[in-house]
């Protein structure tokens, strides 16, 4: 078996393990569904008349507008949850078992991220289904739904990679868990829950350049209006940028870890 195929098999096996782990540890998986759903329900129920504001983008309903934000919130949490699970593996020594095997150490990271991608895809399907049940419409139809699943899964991988790099650096789940509030702040400084043009300064400027806003736009447009080449490309670039950054940080952390051990 070639080294590439052997590593691909390891990534698939570790991805499968990651999915099983999530399913078998409901206390980790359930918040990913429950919290974004609750926030979505509270915002749609409480601020639904925001669509009547002057200059609010033309949408079918506030739920249609909010779905993208809920999905980005969920995939941020999925990435963070995957990174916490990775750190727990390190704390209990399971990662040593993997690192003592004749595989690329990067395959261990990719295996975890494969599981995170599956979790992201599941969350995207869940929010699409939830939206459709409660009256939202996806203007771009099935193709738009597939695009959303792909972008959400990719975003979960991107955020997961950054989290895993921190897990590799610190080796402690509590530090990775501590990132969560920061992720929330960054999310609220984007256009996830309110249109940029209605935000006050300096929030509007921050949201305009916040890379999360590009991902939100890339998910929102197929729902509320239809594909926009500019928004889609910006979303892809943002996901790719986060992923590249995360993987580069992981590679550096693996090298550093090999030197210092532990």
């Amino acid at each position: 078996m070639s080294a590439l195929l052997a590593n691909a098999r390891v990534v698939a096996e570790l991805g499968r393990r990651s999915v099983r782990q999530t399913a078998r540890r409901p206390q980790l998986a359930s918040p990913l569904v429950i919290f974004p759903t609750l926030l979505l329900a509270v915002q749609v129920g409480g601020a639904g008349r925001a669509v009547d504001l002057p200059q609010f983008p033309e949408v079918n309903g506030f739920l249609d507008f909010m779905l993208a934000g809920a999905m980005v919130q969920a995939c941020l949490m999925a990435g963070n949850s995957g990174a916490i699970a990775f750190a727990i593996d390190m704390e209990m020594g399971f990662t040593d078992r993997l690192m003592a095997a004749p595989i690329s150490r990067f395959a261990i990271v990719l295996g975890r991220l494969a599981g995170t991608a599956m979790l992201g895809a599941f969350l995207a399907v869940y929010f699409i289904a939830l939206g459709l049940i409660f009256g939202a419409e996806i203007q771009e139809g099935v193709l738009g739904a597939i695009w959303i699943v792909v972008v959400v899964a990719g975003s979960a991988v991107a955020f997961g990679a950054i989290g895993v790099s921190i897990a590799l650096r610190t080796g402690t789940a509590s530090v990775v868990q501590g990132l969560f509030p920061l992720l929330f702040v960054i999310l609220f400084l984007s256009n996830a829950f309110f249109p940029t043009n209605l935000l006050l300064e300096p929030s509007a400027t921050v949201a305009e350049y916040n890379p999360l806003s590009f991902i939100v736009d890339g998910l929102r447009e197929p729902i509320v209006a239809g594909f926009s080449a500019t928004d889609s490309l910006a979303a892809l670039a943002s996901v790719a940028g986060f992923t590249a950054l995360g993987l580069a940080l992981c590679a550096a952390a693996i090298r550093a870890r090999a030197m210092r051990g532990g």
Binding site: M1, A6, R9, V10, E13, L14, R17, R20, Q21, R24, R25, D89, M92, G93, F94, D96, R97, L98, M99, A100, A101, P102, I103, A258, M259, R260, G261, G262
Partner: protein
């Protein structure tokens, strides 16, 4: 070619802490090498370097003929590793863990399933194979860990404190499995803090203290270095001085301990019967008489001035509240 060979192997951590300080080892193919030392002596750090999990800061090491730094992938292909505390995912089943381990070592899928079943049977976990590891007892976890280290038939097996915290029955089960593996030709590098374990299993023992190898040899040779056996005599009456005079004819008197008179026998165990006769002829009633052979702890004391930690734990039961009865 030795299975394991190190030259001045050293590992210094941040802050100048030397966990391993110039260790020279040579372990022959097919040998069980016991690496004995108290907690914090440098056993685990040495194993982590030999298994490529940690780079040495000085010196060099070869395992199965490969350099642990320059040829780390080849080393990993040749070794099996069961690390301290059996690092197992409690959410996986035993079978899932073996199958994952098979994937890590590129065992073909069609062979992996049959191999998992046979390994689980070998360690007596067939009935528990599809239960989550979180429900296993400590002994079952160790046996599963051992089985998982064997999926690729490694030439060299590293066992880092494989029985720490186990009850005596589980400990004996692990020992039997280690002996069986060794009979099949696997070289075993075993770290332990238990004297009995090193004595029972190891062909040769290396004693490490504060990062340095302080003694090495077969258990018998090491004990012989320390001295001859001694006799502990407890008398029914109080005529200690008279008894001391009698015992002194047979060897060097040692300081009394717990009311017992001690004498290091000049000519070893063959003098036990003459001692008994001499005490009887002197009209001294003996309450108890024990011939005490030197132990590896005596070797450790002689080399370092300290006793090994942890040996008192030998009979302790592990505390695993979630554990179910072992098979």
């Amino acid at each position: 070619m030795p299975a394991i060979e190190t030259e001045a192997l050293a590992r210094e951590f941040e802050g100048g802490i030397k966990a391993v300080d110039g260790v020279d080892l040579e372990v022959a193919e097919g040998e069980i090498y016991g690496f004995l030392g108290p907690n914090g002596a440098g056993k685990t750090t040495t194993v982590r370097m030999l298994t490529t999990l940690l780079r040495p800061t000085d010196g060099r090491a070869r395992v199965a003929g490969y350099d642990v730094v320059e040829e780390a992938p080849q080393v990993r292909r040749s070794i099996g590793v069961a690390l301290q505390e059996a690092a197992l995912d409690p959410l996986m089943t035993g079978r899932e863990l073996i199958l994952l381990q098979a994937a890590l070592h590129a065992v073909p899928r069609d062979r992996a399933t049959a191999l998992a079943s046979s390994l689980l049977e070998w360690v007596g976990l067939t009935r528990a194979a599809d239960r989550r590891v979180g429900t296993y007892s400590g002994g079952m976890r160790r046996r599963l860990d051992l089985a998982s280290a064997l999926v690729h038939s490694p030439r060299v097996l590293f066992l880092d404190e494989p029985t720490t915290g186990l009850d005596p029955v589980s400990r004996q089960a692990i020992w039997r499995e280690v002996e069986n593996l060794n009979r099949e030709g696997t070289t075993i590098f075993l770290t332990t803090q238990y004297l009995e374990e090193a004595d029972q299993l190891a062909d040769r023992v290396g004693i490490i203290s504060a990062g340095r190898l302080v003694a090495e040899g077969t258990p018998a040779a090491l004990k012989a270095q320390v001295g001859r056996p001694h006799l502990e005599v407890s008398l029914a009456d109080e005529d200690g001085q008279h008894a001391e005079e009698v015992l002194a004819r047979f060897g060097k008197p040692l300081p009394a301990r717990d009311g017992k008179l001690l004498v290091q026998l000049e000519h070893g165990a063959s003098e036990v019967a003459p001692v008994v006769r001499a005490l009887d002829e002197a009209g001294l009633a003996v309450e108890s008489l024990d011939l005490v052979q030197p132990t590896l702890d005596d070797v450790f004391v002689a080399k370092t001035g300290q006793h090994l930690e942890g040996d008192e734990d030998t009979g302790e039961q592990e505390a695993l509240p979630e554990a179910e009865p072992a098979e």
